[in-house]
Amino acid sequence: MKSMNKISLPGRLFDTINVLFLLLLVLTMVIPFINTLALAFSSNFASMQPGIVLWPKEFSLEGFSTVWNRMKLYLPFTNNVIVTVVGTLGHVFLSSMAGYVLIQKGLPGKKWMLTAILLTMMIPSEAIMIPLYIVNQDLGLLNTLSSLILSGFVSGFSVILMRNFFLSVPYEMSESARIDGAGDPRIFFTMYLPLASAGLATVTLFEFVSRWNQFTPAVLYINDSSKYTLQIALKSLIVDTDSTSSNFMITTNVRMAGIVIALLPLIIIYPYVQKYFVKGMFVGANKE
């Protein structure tokens, strides 16, 4: 194929321009991150000076120690870890359990349950934020991490995704296990979960990322600063100007250090994410 293509001058010109265009685009994506990193590792004074910073000026960890120790970012960071880990585990468990139930043949009411779950996907959660707030208030969940863990504890999307993964497991296998006397919990835990590990990985990564970044529920349900999660703590650190009215000035390196701390866990899992995200997008899109 390739050898048949004559390398023509316009073709080469196009290739060059194309690569240059992409390089330019990559630069616009990369420079903001490099700038952020460089400023985070600069000294307090240097980070407030104008200039195009792509490498730390007066390398220092002042920003990190200020944001972590003096501004106690470790508290919201810990809260974020708790909410993310507990929320993700619960979400993955409940969603796969629902997925398993919804592949059972001849289960009375299955269609009805499936429709109900699909319906929940059509309601934008932002649009019912006020009634959701009231429900959390009535349940006494305001200002607790439980409210954040429970928010999105199952989702229609994940249920459908897991269901689609389970559908590819041969059904006859579970039938023969049933004849041998295995109950549903056992079939679910020992056969379906291991066989759908790719699905579990997909849902786990999806949920981990969205939990780590969870913002709107935290804005709505949490007022008490000891229950702050990373995202609201960062918001008040970076955006709210009244946080500068405390006795010391928040320098740019401190703010950038906060951003870097929030980026870190996601960067670590990033190599796995992309692959599974594409997979998940297509499995999830197929709703039969």
């Binding site: 048949m4 196009f14 290739d15 194309n18 690569v19 992409l22 685009l25 990559v26 994506m29 990369v30 420079i31 903001p32 991150f33 952020t36 104008p50 200039g51 195009i52 910073v53 409940l94 359990m97 629902a98 139930v101 289960l107 109900a116 779950i117 929940t120 309601i123 934008p124 932002e126 649009a127 934020m129 006020i130 009634p131 009231i134 429900v135 429970l150 504890f153 199952v154 919990p185 970044n213 913002f215 709107t216 804005v219 995202q231 960062l234 918001k235 955006v239 703010r255 950038m256 906060g258 951003i259 929030a262 980026l263 990033y270 994410v273 992309q274 594409v278 997008m281 297509f282 899109a285």
Partner: protein, 290 residues
């Protein structure tokens, strides 16, 4: 009844899930619908007042301001989040070097992974008039420093461009995944007919991406009305009038001002608009097909 008993374990497994959806999806929806017709007070009875809350919202000039902002910022974001990823995917597809392609793809996808607090916070600092890198570059070329997030001339454009910056790679991957699935024999046949590279893109690749484009359109259209996190993070007093969107209005009314009735009514107007938009978009997309 016997059948139900036979499946009792399965129903038992399903119980927590159904309970969750009942408490956190259906009940708030029903409760919200009721509240939107009530004079909702914290203490005392809450009489039903018909469409008063809706009328109050629809007569509120601020509502129409945020409505207009939603449409402008939403439409801008819609256009940029449709064409930019498409151009990027087509252009990436023409690159011969596999590692360059992969690297570009990975880097461009990166911002999608992060929250709006992180991305918005980053851009607030990068766009700062005194020390932000963008203004330093403008000054390097002899320009004047610009207050991107303090003047209402640029605020909407900044919102649109940063949302394009954040989501471009995500949508691009959807297109790329679809391009990979195009049957190679189509390209071979086109080559036989003497099609140039451009013609192959124009007559094979783009038409084969139609269904992906539809998914992208649908997702982007539904995203318009849900716009919240980005604006919540990046808006400020100076530009609020130009960038605050409907969800910000709901939040401010309901949570900050405690006018729960009108805020809930605004929420239901959004749900209604979402259904209408979904319906219209589907009709338009199908029409396109015929």
């Amino acid at each position: 009844m016997k059948a139900v008993f036979k499946y009792k374990t399965l129903y038992f497994m399903m119980l927590p899930i159904l309970a969750y959806f009942l408490i956190f999806s259906f009940y708030p929806l029903a409760r919200g619908l009721a509240i939107s017709f009530q004079d909702y007070r914290l203490i005392g009875d809450r009489p039903f007042i018909g469409f008063d809350n809706y009328l109050r919202v629809l007569k509120d000039p601020v509502f129409w301001e945020v409505f207009q902002n939603t449409i402008v910022i939403g439409a801008g974001g819609f256009i940029i989040n449709f064409f930019l990823p498409l151009i990027l995917a087509l252009s990436l597809n023409e690159v011969a070097s596999a590692w360059f392609k992969k690297m570009t793809q990975m880097i461009v996808y990166l911002p999608h992974l992060f929250s709006w607090v992180v991305v918005g916070g980053m851009w607030i600092l990068l766009l700062s008039p005194d020390t932000g890198i963008v203004n330093q570059i403008i000054q390097l070329f002899g320009g004047q420093s610009v207050g991107f997030l303090s003047s209402d001339r640029y605020a909407r454009t900044v919102m649109i461009l940063t949302s394009g910056w954040k989501e471009m790679g995500y949508t691009c991957i959807m297109y790329l995944a679809a391009i990979v699935n195009i049957n190679p024999s189509l390209y071979e046949a086109a080559s036989m007919d003497g099609a140039s590279r451009w013609q192959k893109v124009r007559y094979v690749t783009v038409p084969m991406l139609r269904s992906t484009m539809k998914v992208v359109i649908m997702l982007n259209v539904l995203g318009i009305l849900r716009l919240f996190d980005q604006i919540f993070v990046m808006s400020n007093g100076a530009i609020a009038k130009k960038v605050d969107v409907i969800m910000m209005y709901t939040y401010q009314k309901g949570i900050l001002e405690f006018s729960v009735g009108p805020a809930t009514a605004a929420g239901f107007l959004v749900i209604l608009a979402t259904f209408t938009l979904t319906y219209v978009t589907r009709a338009v997309i199908r029409y396109d097909e015929g």
